[in-house]
Symmetry: C2
Subunit: 149 residues, 2 copies
DNA sequence: CCATCTGTAACCATAATATTTACAGAAGAA
DNA sequence: TTCTTCTGTAAATATTATGGTTACAGATGG
C-alpha cells in the first residue's frame, strides 16, 4: 500500500463519535463500523486523545467520546494529529554533494514542495468533522444530488 | 519510509539530463549523482521512456537523453508518469455497509480529497524541469537570496 | 465480585521499495 | 571481427511502514 489509511480511518472514527456525542462508543463497536480490529482503533484513538480530540473511559459502560466541538476540528487538524507527513519525500540517501545538481536539487525542491503542500492544507482546513457528518447524514437520507457536498 | 521517493528521484534525473542535452548520460553516472544503484536508475528511466520523456541508447557511448523540451515538462507530468498516486487513501477493508457512517463516509471523503488533490496539482503544474534547472543553477552559483525561487 | 473496556506489549503478515548480483544483447570503436 | 561499454531485465534479499491478532494487566460501574 502506497499510503497510510490512518487519516481516512481517523476521519471515519471522529465522524462516528460526532454522531454519538451523548454516549461513549467502544473500540469494538467502532471497529465494527470501520471493519478492522479493536486494537487498531484503540491505537489510533490513543493518539487522538494525546492531541486532545477525544477522551476515553475504561471499565463498564466506558468507551470513547469527542472532547472538542466537531465544527472546531478541521481535516488539517486531524491530518497533523495522525502524523500524516508530507505527500513528498526526498532521497533515501543524500545526493552526491560533488555534483552541482546533486548538491542543490533538494534546496530547489523544498520550495516547490512547500508551496504544493500549503495549497493542499488550505483545502483541508476548509472542511470540519461537523461538515463531514452533515455530508454523511445527507447521503444516508439519499439527498445527494451534487457531486461534492 | 512513508512515501515513495520516485517522484523526487525522477525530478533529480530529469534536471540532470536537462543540464546535459548535447550528450547522453549513463545510468552509472546518474546513479553517482543520485547516490543509488544504476539498476534503480534504469528501471525509473525505463518508465520515463515509456511515457516519452527520455530515450536510451545501448552500447558504447550510449546512455540516456531528454526527448521533450525541459520547459514543456511540468512537475505534474512527471508525477503522473511515475505513478505517484493520491496523497490520500481509503480504508484497506471496505467499511461496514450496515452502519450509516460506514456506508457513506467514503462518498463524503471522495469530494474533499478530490478538491485537495486538484489544489496540489494546480501548484505542481506551475513548475517545469527548466525552472528546476534554473533554480539549481542559481543555487550552484550562490545566487539564492530568496527562500522560494 | 463480575462483566466490560481501556492500555499496551508482542508477534506475525503483507506490501511497497530499495539494493544488489548477474547476465543477455545491442552498438560504437579499434 | 573483436572488445568494451551500456542497456534491459530477472531474481533474490533487505528494509520499512502498516495493519491484524492474541494476550493480559488494570480500571470501573453495577
Amino acid at each position: 500500500m502506497n499510503l497510510s489509511t490512518r487519516f481516512t480511518v481517523a476521519l471515519h472514527i471522529l465522524t462516528l463519535l460526532a454522531s454519538s456525542r451523548e454516549e461513549p462508543l467502544t473500540s469494538e463497536y467502532i471497529a465494527g463500523s470501520v471493519n478492522t480490529n479493536p486494537v487498531v482503533v484503540r491505537r489510533l484513538l490513543g493518539l487522538l486523545r494525546q492531541k486532545g480530540f477525544v477522551s476515553s473511559q475504561p471499565g463498564n459502560r466506558g468507551g470513547w467520546q469527542l472532547v472538542r466541538n466537531p465544527d472546531a476540528i478541521t481535516l488539517l487538524d486531524v491530518r497533523r494529529a495522525v502524523n500524516e507527513g508530507s505527500p513528498f519525500s526526498m532521497h533515501t540517501n543524500p545526493p552526491n554533494p560533488a555534483c552541482p545538481v546533486g548538491r542543490n536539487i533538494q534546496g530547489a525542491l523544498t520550495g516547490v514542495y512547500g508551496q504544493a503542500e500549503r495549497a493542499l492544507e488550505a483545502e483541508l482546513v476548509q472542511t470540519t468533522i461537523q461538515k463531514l457528518l452533515r455530508s454523511v447524514q445527507a447521503r444516508a437520507r439519499g439527498l445527494i444530488f451534487l457531486a461534492y457536498l
